[in-house]
Symmetry: C2
Subunit: 244 residues, 2 copies
């Protein structure tokens, strides 16, 4: 059996978009007193655990996510390391850590990873513990400093969505401007005026209108668009330098 590093862990913030809202993947942390049956802990955490002695951060993140949720081949990106001295010091955290493993350090630093996936296309393989998607606007109580880690990940995700075309990976190849607007609104937690949004998007050379409309929809079919990564890359320098 591989030895864990007692004072270093990774935590994965898996954001899932389901075309309606932004969700996050959490694991239940539940513990009852073996004698009295009293509930000692009943909250949720991010998917995380300690790294192994012979394992780098990226490998650990992928292994831990897979072990807790069954999710495999998810692109994970490191976003921040959390090192506050008292980050796992609450009484509940103490009980949990002792219950899990006697060898854990009393001070643990963690490296945060995040990802954005279409959570309607993946299946969670439930393991020993309960794993669930929660809307980020309706979260349960989180253990450790995981609310802080989640907030930081959300900040990074939003900043990335504003500066890189990561949103298109969640849309069908041909999409409507309403779908695009919905995606940005859900992730950025805001609303846009429909007309201004369309005006802005239509200026982007890499979002290309097709001579094609939606089919088999109940409402009036809307025009379809595609995202051209090719045009995006070609015009990148021109747009990015001094997009201050």
């Amino acid at each position: 059996m591989q030895k864990i590093v007692p004072n270093i862990s990774v935590d994965c913030v898996i954001f899932g978009f389901d075309f309606k809202q932004l969700n996050v993947l959490l694991v239940e942390r539940k513990l009852q007193d073996e004698k009295t049956g009293e509930t000692l802990i009943d909250d949720w955490t991010l998917t995380g655990y300690h790294i192994f002695e012979d394992e780098d951060f990226d490998t650990a993140a992928a292994r831990i996510l897979k072990g807790l949720s069954g999710l495999d081949n998810i692109y994970l990106e490191q976003f921040y390391a959390f090192g506050k001295v008292s980050r796992v010091d609450s009484p509940k955290d103490n009980i949990w850590l002792k219950h899990q493993h006697e060898g854990f350090s009393s001070r643990i630093v963690t490296v945060g990873y995040y990802s954005l996936i279409d959570n309607s296309t993946v299946t969670l393989q439930l393991q020993e513990r309960n794993v669930k998607w929660f809307s980020i606007t309706d979260l349960p109580e989180l253990g450790f400093d995981h609310q802080e880690i989640l907030n930081k990940a959300l900040e990074k995700l939003r900043s990335k969505l504003r500066s890189e075309p990561i949103g298109f990976e969640l849309l069908p190849e041909k999409f409507t401007l309403s779908q695009l607007q919905k995606l940005y609104e859900a992730i950025l937690g805001t609303t846009y005026d429909r007309r201004n949004f369309r005006k802005k998007v239509l200026q982007m050379k890499y979002i290309i209108p097709l001579n094609e409309k939606q089919k088999a929809v109940k409402h009036k079919p809307a025009q379809l668009f595609i995202f051209s990564r090719d045009v995006y890359e070609r015009t990148k320098r021109e747009r990015f330098d001094f997009s201050i």
Copy 2:
């Protein structure tokens, strides 16, 4: 004396701009065999060391930078954690670590911090070890995985300069467009066509032309500009959302 954490360090990548080029602050790593006088190690590293048991990452970074260079009150931003299993495993790194402290772990992870300062305005207070600015286009051999850490920091700095107005903090309040161009060219490691650069900048509402020219210069005095953070913040949302 405070106890160090044997397997966790921080490293600071201090970028300095001197109105000509982009520099980075390095510490000499020199070691001679006490008996034979033979040079065992003669290279450079970033300013870094281990964190204390009761110290968070931010505090450690500021303390270590001050201890090695005398630099105080520098805004440091965490940018990445480095955890490759063999990152401090070279023979030279092994000798150095043993020489420095018997208690170090053989596997050390490090949290990277970076900063961009006007290095012409700060004075290095040389401590026990030699500390110097090096042009990033003319670097000496670096110990550990510090070349990799430096490359990552540079990538983050460039990305930040392209999406936030961090450059203006290095310019005088009133600056010329040539000075602004020089700054972007030095940091991004590129050159711009003067006319295109001016055209692009003049579209930015938050770079405001003054009815004022340079004084006491040998060449034809150029027009002066100021950066308005106020206008920048006011027009931020409009610009940032979907600057994809």
